[in-house]
Amino acid sequence: MRLYFVIGDLMATTFCGWLTAVTVSHWISSTGSMVLAMGLGMAVGIMIGMVTALGFMPFFGAMEVMLPVMLAGKLSGMLVAMGSVMHWLPMAWMDAMGMLSGVLAFLWTTLAQYRVKDVYGH
């Protein structure tokens, strides 16, 4: 059962990262301003994260899906918008960067989870 949820979490964050990258690289990269692009990218990513999470939540959990997926959207939106404006990578590679953001969000959440486990008790 644990593996089922790990795979589900990873699928949800990677999908959200990819979807955000596709959206951001096509619609926000034309802003010209890096700061504006990053801000818009993050906002769009968080919104995509909220909607994406609703699709995955019935199968894989509530907060455990919603929070990392929104983080994936935020990270992907920020990085892809920045990369697009600065022409770091070809557009086709932006999708991969979005998916990588999803994996990073998953790892970030997993590490944070281990740090706060059983904060206190007597």
Binding site: F5, M57, P58, G61, A62, M66, M70, K117, G121
Partner: protein
């Protein structure tokens, strides 16, 4: 006793899709933690906000439980799960903030994702303290606000939308327990510092 009709209507609306949204992945994920918490059940037990009864299969067999919920539509769905439970569950329509029980009636009170939905959580906790015997235990499975960036930011962004259709996601339940004069004995974090089991004790007198 007064019923908060706005809250009742919200959860009546939510009852239609509640088992689909909360009854599959979420319940499977939380089941081991709930079973561990409910394994402490003993004596005269009050279970708050029963919903559609998704928690009942996690109860140990043979208990006698009084379960309440504000939504009659949720309770209607909970009936079948109450009948299937190997023990006794009495379902009652009631508001957590206004309990129709005498002082010091229960040995233990259990909650499961209740205080994300009670409009005045401190008032609700004080009602629980009233109906608990002195020194009685309150055991809660709740999702709360987070103290960790960026998760706290996410929760605050979600909250305005979430509260319209269902629960609040930024509740400071530990602080609310302090305000209601419960002694917090143990907190178990299941997911970040958001999904938790909380063990608290009512004052001795």
């Amino acid at each position: 006793m007064a019923i908060d009709t706005k809250t009742r209507d919200k959860w009546d609306r939510a009852a239609t899709f509640f088992d689909i949204s909360a009854g599959l992945g979420t319940e499977k994920r939380w089941e081991p933690f709930k079973k561990a918490l409910f394994s402490h059940m003993d004596g005269d037990i009050l279970f708050m906000a029963a919903g559609t009864g998704l928690d009942f299969p996690c109860f140990p067999p043979g208990m006698t439980v009084t379960a309440i919920d504000i939504s009659p539509k949720m309770l209607e769905k909970a009936k079948i799960r109450a009948i299937n439970y190997q023990g006794r569950i009495d379902l009652l329509e009631m508001d957590v903030q206004s309990l129709a029980f005498s002082d010091g009636r229960f040995d233990q009170v259990f909650t499961s994702c209740t205080f994300c939905s009670v409009p005045d959580p401190v008032a609700g906790l004080m009602e629980i303290r009233r109906v608990l015997k002195p020194g009685g235990m309150l055991r809660m499975f709740e999702h709360t606000a987070s103290g960790i960036f960026p998760f706290n930011l996410m929760l605050h962004l979600m909250n305005p939308i979430s509260r319209i259709f269902g629960p609040e996601v930024t509740r400071d339940t530990l602080n609310n327990l302090d305000r209601a004069r419960f002694a917090i004995l143990k907190v178990e974090n299941h997911f970040l510092d958001v999904v938790r089991s909380i063990h608290a004790k009512a004052p001795e007198m």
